[in-house]
Amino acid sequence: MTSAAPTDSILAADIGSVTTRAALLDIVSGQFRFVAAGEARSTAEPPFSYMGEGVRQALDHLHIITARPFMDEGDRLLMPTRADGAGVDAFAVSASVGKPLRVALVGLMPNISLASAERIAMSGQATIVDRLGLGDRRRREKQIDDLINAKPEVVIISGGTDHGSQGAVLKLADTVAIATRLMREAARPDILFVGNAVLHDRVRDMFAGVCDVVVAENLRPSLNDETIASARRQLARLYERVRLRAMPGYGELAQWSGNGVAPNASAFGNLVRYLSRAMEGGKGVLAVDVGSATTTLAAAIGGDGSVTVRADLGVGHSAAHLANAIDRIARWMPEATLDDDLRDYLSNKTLYPATVPQELRELQIEHALARQCLQGVAQSAVWPAKLKGYPGLTPAFDTIIGSGAVLARAPKPGQAALMLLDSLQPTGVTTLLLDWQCLMPALGAAAAMNPTAVVQALETNALINLGAAVSLVGEGRPGQEAVRVKASLPTGEKIDQKITFGSLEVVHMPPNVDVKVSIQPSGAFDAGFGRGASKTIAINSGAVGLIVDARGRPIGIPTAADKRYEAVSKWNMNVGEYGL
C-alpha cells in the first residue's frame, strides 16, 4: 500500500461474509472522528454476485443516517468532497469474501520449516489442503496424486536455512513441479517460495512456463530465527490476486480506492500494529474479530505484530465446524443442554448464517460459540516474540479489542467483556475495548492511506471502553481471599472490596470515570506486578466497571455439571447481566 495525499474525510468499507459496512471519518474540532456507519447484507454471493452492490446499499444507509450523499447521478462515488458537503475525499476498502485460499505446504522438517509455513498460511484466509515434508512416508507417486487431488491455489515451499540444505528442498520442489505440470493449465497453483534464498533462480526455472513463482525472505534463515513478515505480505498479495480480484465488483472498488481491496486479515493486522505504536503501556495490543466464516487474532507490541486466521472457525458459515467441540461449547452454558440440540443449532446456523438469536437460551449458545472460536484462534496464535507472560498462558496485554457482530451486538457490554475474558483468559491489568461498529478491518485499510486519521478516530469514539480487567494468576482454596481492591471515586465514595479465589466480580463504579485503584493481591497471586505485589494504577471504569477475575489461569471450570451451572450462572449474572 502507498500513502496518498492528506485527506479531510474518509469512507472506509469492509465487505464481510454476511455484512458490508461503510464508515465515515471526518474532521470535527480539528480531529478525525468516526461520524457514522451504514450497513447492508453482503452481495458477493449469488444472486447479486457483485461486491459493489452491497457497498452501494451500505452507502445508501449511511446517506439516510448522515443526510450526506455519497453517489452521483451516475451511481459513481463522489470524490473528492463537493462544496455542498456531498461525497468524500478518500475511499478505502477491505474484504474477506470468497472461499478460503486452498494452500499446500512443503517444507523439510515438520516442526521447523513446515511449522513456519503453516503459521504463514494461517496469517491469511486459508485452508491447508496438503502437506509434504521430508518425513513423508507416501510413495512419490502418491504425493503427486494427492497434491493434484488437493487442488491447491497456492503452494508454499519452505525449507533450507540460508547457506543450508539445497538438494532436499529442490527434490521436494521437483515433486511439486511434476504435479503442477500434470494439472490442467487453469487449475495450476501459484508458488510462494520462502526457503533457502540461494535457490530462488533454480525454483523459478523449475516452474518456468507452468506456474507463477513469488519469492519472499527465507522463513527460517537459521534454525533459531523465523522471518515471517515478508512471506505474510506476499501471501496477502496472492490472496488479493487469486481470490479478491476474481470477485465481480473488485475492479470498481479498487478504482475508487486507488489502492486495491485489502484482504480483511492483513488490514486488521496492520491496524493493530499501528495501534501498538500509538497506545501507551508497553505490554502490547491484542485484537480479535469473530466473524461468520473466520476468526482473526492480531497481536502487536511496539509495531511488531502477528496475525492468525482460523478460516474454519466462525459463528455463522463455519458454525458446523464446531460440532467436534460440543463439550467445550456446552461448558459455557448455565443450564443443561443436550448435545444433539447443540449440534442441530450449529448445523442450522451454518445453513442460515445471517440469522440472530431471539431467545435468551439461543443468545447464550451463540455467545458460547464465540468463546470457542476465540479459544481456538488463541490456541493457534503465533505471538510476537517481545510479548511477556506466563508460559502456556495468554501473554500479558495492555489492551484487548473485541470486534465482530457477536461481540458488538451483545445486548449488554458486560457480555462482550465476559466473552473476551472467558476465552482469551488475559493476565494482569487489561483495558477491554469494543469495536462497536465492527469497523476495524475497514479502518485498517484506511490506515494504509492515513494512519493518523484512523488512530484519532479510534481514540475518540470508534471504540467503546468496556472497562478494566484485573486477572489474577495463582492457585488458592475456594473462598480464600485473592485480592483486595481499594479506590476513591470522584464522587468521594470509597471502595474497599475483597475478592475471593474462584470468583469473578465487578467493582461497580460510575461509567467512564478515571479512577486510581489500589490492587493488593494475596501472596499466592499475581495481578501483573509479581506474586503478592501491590500497585496503584489508573484506570477508566468504562461501561462495565472494574472487573476482577480471580478464577485462576487457566480458569478452573467445575467438572460436576450442577456446580458448573451454578458457577457459569453466577459469572453470567455478575458481569454479563444476562436476562436482566
Binding site: 444472486p47 472461499k99 458446523a320 449440534r343 442460515y352 440469522t355 431471539q358 431467545e359 445486548p411
Partner: protein, 356 residues
C-alpha cells in the same frame, strides 16, 4: 433495503439448471435438443493414478543411458501391455521390458524414470431430469430447461437421483414409521417427516432411490452421507415439520417422477438442494423463479429461528426503528402474520427469508 435469501416452493415454474462436468470435456447434445433423465449430455476424460518406473533398475541399464531404450515418446497414449521400453541383454539372447500397466499415457521421462498416468473410463454426466437443452457451454456442459414443480430444501447429503415420488404418511409431523419402508419402496424417492438412524439404514436395505425429509437430527449427517441414495432435508436440523406448502406439493405429485439434487448448498455457486418435478408443457412457459428481491410488506416469508422456526407468514409492516427482543438483542425487525395461527409476531429481518 434488506435483501434476504429466497426459498422457492413453486407448483409451476420454468426451471433452468446448469449440468456441468467437474473438469473440461466435451458435450454430446445440441442446443434445443430434448433429453431424458438418463441421457449422457457430456463426457470428460479422467486421469487416474500416476506411476514411476525406474528404467535403470527395471532394464538393468547403465545410469544416463536408460532413456535410449524407450519405445514411445512422452505424451503417447497406450493400451495395457504395450511396450514402454525394451532393452536386449548381452548377445540379444533375452530382453528386459517395461510395459504399460493399464490404459494410460506415458507422460515424461526424467533422470531415468518414466512417469505413467493411468486413464480411467470417461466421466459421464447425465441430464438428471428430462428437459430441453437451452444452451451449450462447449467444454463444460449444458443448461437444461423444463416446466415443473420446484421444492427447494435446506440441506442435502450429496447425491442426485431420479425416481418416482412415494408418500408413505399423510402427516408431515409424524416420524416415518420403519415398518412402512418395505420392498414396495425399492427404486422410489420416499417422502417423510422426520427420520432416525434406523429409518436411514432401513431405507438403504430396501434400496430406496432417495429420501426427502422435513428435518432430521444433525447427529445423523455422517450416516446420511454414507448412504447410496440422496437424503434431502427441506426445513433444517432438529425436529422441524415440513411446511404444508412443500408437503402438499410433493403429495400432489405422489407417483410422479422427480429429480432429487441433494448436493449440499453452495453459496458461491447459487446451489440449493432441491426437488424438481418435471411437468409436461401446457401453453406458454411459466415464469422463472426470481432471487434477490428486497423484503417488503405483503411478502410471504419463512421464519428461520426459534421460537417460530419453520413458520410461514406474511410481512405486515417493517418497523422503522430497531426493536429490542426478549434476550436483549436490538435489531431491525418486521411484524409478521403467521399463517394458520391468526397471530402477529415481531421477528428480526435477519431471521426471515422470502418464500414463494
Amino acid at each position: 433495503m434488506y435483501v434476504p435469501t429466497t426459498t422457492h416452493v413453486s407448483p409451476l415454474a420454468t426451471i433452468r439448471r446448469e449440468r456441468l462436468l467437474p473438469r473440461p470435456g466435451y458435450v454430446l447434445v445440441s442446443d434445443g435438443e430434448r433429453v431424458d433423465a438418463t441421457t449422457v449430455v457430456a463426457k470428460a476424460e479422467v486421469t487416474g493414478r500416476h506411476y514411476f518406473f525406474d528404467l535403470v533398475q527395471r532394464l538393468d541399464a547403465p545410469l544416463g543411458q536408460a532413456e535410449r531404450f524407450l519405445r514411445v515418446q512422452p505424451g503417447t497414449a497406450m493400451e495395457k501391455g504395450e511396450l514402454i521400453a525394451l532393452r536386449p541383454t548381452a548377445f540379444g539372447l533375452s530382453k528386459k521390458m517395461v510395459r504399460a500397466p493399464s490404459k494410460g499415457t506415458m507422460v515424461e521421462v526424467k533422470d531415468g524414470k518414466v512417469l505413467f498416468a493411468v486413464t480411467h473410463p470417461d466421466y459421464e454426466l447425465k441430464a438428471g431430469f428430462p428437459g430441453m437443452v437451452s444452451s451449450v457451454n462447449a467444454d463444460w456442459g449444458v443448461i437444461l430447461e423444463t416446466p415443473g414443480a420446484l421444492v427447494q430444501g435446506a440441506w442435502g447429503s450429496g447425491r442426485q437421483e431420479y425416481g418416482a415420488l412415494k408418500m408413505l404418511i399423510n402427516d408431515p409431523a409424524q416420524p416415518l414409521p420403519t415398518e412402512l419402508l418395505d420392498s414396495s419402496c425399492a427404486g422410489a424417492i420416499v417422502v417423510g417427516g422426520n427420520a432416525d438412524d434406523q429409518i436411514l439404514r432401513r431405507a438403504e436395505t430396501v434400496k430406496v432411490r432417495g429420501l426427502i425429509l422435513g428435518s432430521m437430527s444433525a447427529s445423523l449427517i455422517r450416516i446420511a452421507r454414507s448412504l447410496s441414495f440422496p437424503v434431502l432435508v427441506v426445513e433444517g436440523f432438529g425436529k422441524q415439520i415440513m411446511s404444508s406448502h412443500a408437503w402438499t406439493l410433493l403429495a400432489d405429485h405422489n407417483g410422479r417422477e422427480a429429480f432429487v439434487d441433494a448436493r449440499p448448498p453452495d453459496r458461491w455457486e447459487s446451489r440449493r438442494p432441491e426437488v424438481i418435478i418435471p411437468l409436461p408443457p401446457s401453453g406458454g412457459m411459466p415464469p422463472v423463479p426470481s432471487d434477490g428481491q428486497p423484503l417488503t410488506e405483503s411478502k410471504r416469508v419463512r421464519l428461520l429461528r426459534a421460537p417460530h422456526a419453520g413458520a410461514i407468514g406474511t410481512v405486515q409492516h417493517i418497523l422503522p426503528r430497531t426493536h429490542v427482543f426478549p434476550c436483549g438483542l436490538q435489531c431491525h425487525a418486521a411484524r409478521v402474520e403467521i399463517e394458520g395461527q391468526d397471530e402477529e409476531v415481531i421477528v428480526p429481518v435477519a431471521n426471515l427469508e422470502i418464500f414463494e
